[in-house]
Subunit: 231 residues, 2 copies
Amino acid sequence: MPEIINSNHCKACIYKGLLFGGLNDDELNLLNRNKKEMLFKKGEIISTEGQDIAAFLYLKQGLVKLYKQSPNNKDQIISIAKPRDFISLLSMFSLSTYKYSISALEDSVVCSLDMEALKEVIKNNGAFAIDIMKKMSKMYDDIIEKRFEINKKHLRGRIAYILIFFSTHIYQQDEFELPISRREIAELIEMTTENVIRILSEFRKDKIIHIDGKRIKLLDPDRLESVCKLG
Amino acid sequence: MPEIINSNHCKACIYKGLLFGGLNDDELNLLNRNKKEMLFKKGEIISTEGQDIAAFLYLKQGLVKLYKQSPNNKDQIISIAKPRDFISLLSMFSLSTYKYSISALEDSVVCSLDMEALKEVIKNNGAFAIDIMKKMSKMYDDIIEKRFEINKKHLRGRIAYILIFFSTHIYQQDEFELPISRREIAELIEMTTENVIRILSEFRKDKIIHIDGKRIKLLDPDRLESVCKLG
DNA sequence: CGCGGCTTTGATGTTCATCAAGTAAAGTGG
DNA sequence: CCACTTTACTTGATGAACATCAAAGCCGCG
C-alpha cells in the first residue's frame, strides 16, 4: 500500500511547466481537487492491467516499469519510465481499463490526478489537448522505435544497448546499480535469462564492464557503443 | 503522381461518421476548404518519412503499407492499413515531419484534409480532440501488441498469422490475392525472404494452403489457426 | 534481348533457446 | 536464530531454429 504524502497545490508544483504550464487558475484548481501524491516502495505495484482507469499518473521521483503480464511467468516489459514521465498516458484513452501494469523499480513518488477532471480540462482547452497528444505520440513512437532497434540486434548488441540505456539515459554515470534483475533484463530485451547472464560474463571477461552483483561499471564505453551498433 | 478526383462536400461524405460526426457545419466547412481526394496507383508513394506534414489523410479505398526505410534495402513494414483507417495519425503530432512512409499496395483513394485546419478544429472542440486521441491510442496499441505477438512466434506461426490476417481482416475470404511480395511479407513479420518462401512451400506440401503465385487459398483454416497459436 | 527484380530450393554454419545442475542469496516459519 | 524453501544467479552441453550463401528459373520492361 502506498503512503500518501503531503504535496503542494498544482499551482506551485515545480513540474507544472512539463504539461500544465498553459492552464489557468480555474483549471489548476480543478485538477488539484482530487490530487494525491503517493510514495510507492520498491517492488510495489502502482497499477495493474485490466483495472479501471481512475487516475492520470506522473512520476515525480524514482523509476518504474510498464509491462504486460503473461500466463507462464514470462512478463513482457514495455518500457522503463523515469521522473517526469507520464506513466498512465498509454492507457489513458483505452476503453476504461489499463492496458499495462506498472510497478516501482525504486522507491517512487507518483502524482495522481483525477482522470475525469483531466478529461474535462482537455475538453475545454484545445491547446492543452494538443500538448497531451504530442506527449502521447512521442511516447508511443519511442516505444515502437526502441522495439525495432532491439529486435534488429543480436544478443550482444541488445545487452550493450541496455547498459548504455541505463548509463546514459537513467543514471548519467559510467557506474551504477542495475535497478532490475537479470530476468527482467531478459523480459525487456526479449531473450532468455541465461543468455543475459552469459553475455554479461563475456563482457566482463572482455574487460568491457566490471560486475559486482547488480553494480555495473562501464570500463570501455566506446567498445560497448560499437558492440551496440554492430551486434 | 496521384490523380485528383472529384469528391463530395465533407457534410455529405459517407465516412463522416467515422470521426467527424460530432462536428458542426462551420467546422465541416473549414475542413472541406482545402480538402482533396486523390487516387494513388498501386506502388505509388503517398508520403515519405521526413517530409513536412501538411495533410491529415484517411484511406477511403484500397490498401496501403506504413513503413520505415532502412539503408541497406531492408525496409521495416509497421502496419497494413485498410479503408477507414487514418493513415497519417501516427505522424500527426510529431515535430513537423512524417515518422513513417506510406505507399499504395493496391490502387487507393485517399482523402486529404489540411492539417492546420484540422488542428484548428481540435483546439476549439474538446470532444473531438478526445475522439482523435482514442483513435490514435488504439492504433498505436494495436501496432505494439501485434509486434509482440509476432515476435513471440516461430517462423511457421508468423506465416500462419499473416495469412490469417489477410484472409480474416483484409479480404474476408479463404481465397485471395496477396497484395505484397514475399519480400514485403518478410519485412512485415521480421524474417528473411527465403524463409517466407520456404514455409509457404511447406504449408503447400502439408496441404494447408494452395499457392499459385500471389494467389493463396486456405485449404485448412483450422490447422492454420493452430499453427498460428502454437508455433 | 538482356538486365534486374522476384521467386525457389538446397547446403552450410551461426545464433540462440532449452535442459541440466549447482551455487549463492534472500525470504519464511518455528 | 537456524533449518527450510524459494528465488536469483551462473556455467556448460546440446540441438533446434534460423540467417546466410549460392545457384538457377522466371517474368516484365526498356
